[in-house]
Symmetry: C2
Subunit: 247 residues, 2 copies
């Protein structure tokens, strides 16, 4: 019941607001669904692959990612979490988590109070719809990611990924039209894109030398966003950012 006075909306509220305008009661329920704020340092494994009875979180500040590790030791990053994203919500009902989650920076999270989820469905179905929408949207990103890895070459894949991240950051009020902070190392980016860090490095150089984008010192800066976007056919309709559906 921390209804002191809703200050600037947090990232999740802001994102859900893209889907529909939340009322007073719904905002209260959204708050109730989350446990106290918790701070976790960078590099901490929050949930591990095979874990039983794992929790889900709302990522309020900082970055995290989910990944799977293969027997040969290589890993594939599934998904990057930025402020306003859920961590592990979609695998909550699985007996064992199918993936691991690590923090990439120091983060602020709130645990999802699963026991109240059913309440939310009963009392605030619009909110529940918004939450399911957010999960669906996350899933659409994973799907697009799969398509990228399956059918785009290294350059297009890299560009697409960085454009998408930019769009996601802007959606939650981080970063500007042509740049954003991105704390990923090259080897992580490579693990996300299904290639080697060495090759990623070459691709980044190519993007830089073609005056398309620069990724340096933790900042992605688009030099020619337009050109880049239609060079690779970037279409973010799958992010479903249509502005509030008022019902």
């Amino acid at each position: 019941m921390s209804s002191h006075k809703p200050a600037a909306p947090d990232a999740l509220t802001q994102k859900l607001g893209t889907f529909l305008a939340l009322g007073r009661e719904e905002l209260a329920m959204l708050d109730e669904l989350q446990g106290p704020r918790t701070y976790i340092p960078a590099g901490k494994e929050v949930v591990y692959q095979g874990q039983h009875g794992h929790a889900a979180y709302v990522l309020r500040e900082g970055w995290a990612c989910s990944y799977k590790r293969l027997i040969d030791g290589s890993r594939q990053i599934i998904d990057i979490g930025v402020p306003g994203d859920f961590l592990g919500l979609r695998s909550l009902l699985l007996r064992t988590s199918d993936q691991s989650f690590v923090t990439l920076t120091d983060v602020e999270v709130r645990r999802v109070v699963t026991s109240k989820l059913w309440d939310a469905f009963r009392k605030t179905p619009r909110l529940a719809g918004a939450l399911l929408w957010a999960v669906s949207r996350d899933e659409a990103m994973v799907v697009e990611h799969l398509v990228s890895i399956g059918r785009r070459d290294a350059l297009a894949r890299t560009a697409h990924f960085l454009l998408e991240l930019g769009a996601r950051m802007r959606l939650v009020g981080r970063g500007s039209h042509d740049s954003y902070e991105c704390p990923l190392s090259q080897s992580m980016l490579a693990d996300a894109l299904g290639m080697t860090a060495i090759h990623l490095n070459r691709v980044l150089r190519q993007l830089r030398e073609s005056n398309l984008l620069v990724f340096r010192e933790g900042v992605v800066r688009f030099i020619d966003r337009e050109k880049l976007a239609d060079m690779i056919g970037f279409d973010l309709s799958y992010l479903d950012q249509g502005g509030p559906v008022l019902d």
Copy 2:
């Protein structure tokens, strides 16, 4: 209320039964959630990428798949649907469908009656949980698919995919321990696996000549399932087939 007498359980009921034992009332609700049986011929596009106000279906008999098409005309198959699977449930809340669905064989489906979904959440939360579990499991498969394409070579990817399909078929009572019917053409399999049909053909030959599996005339037959499975480190724990959780 088609409660004549529950005959042999259909594929979806059977699959949900893997997660939890459904009671009389829950089975009735599950039935109510589905519209009348409908038959659709092979090769029909049920939902197309970008479609507005698309529906979701339960696939009762036959095969279907979802895919995305890129600007250059190539396509990536996201997911194969076998009996008992949902089609398009996870993108129901998106304003426009982010992917297309085609039938691969003649199929029998029942439309999901979305207006009753909220009823289900209220009246039969255990059933609702089972449905969300099924969706989570589908997503876990997409994630594993992504990992495959990102980090496994063509041989392992192909073997993994065919092993997974076999496990899914068995789960819904289709196919035996060492073989199952698979109506996919090589070019479709290739589109699913993120490679060219030509290369897939070479890989299939290799699998055949190594006495691991044969895929011919619409039937996948494992010659040495064991060897194949641990050669590629196949671990189907992500399919979460643990037997009923009785609550």
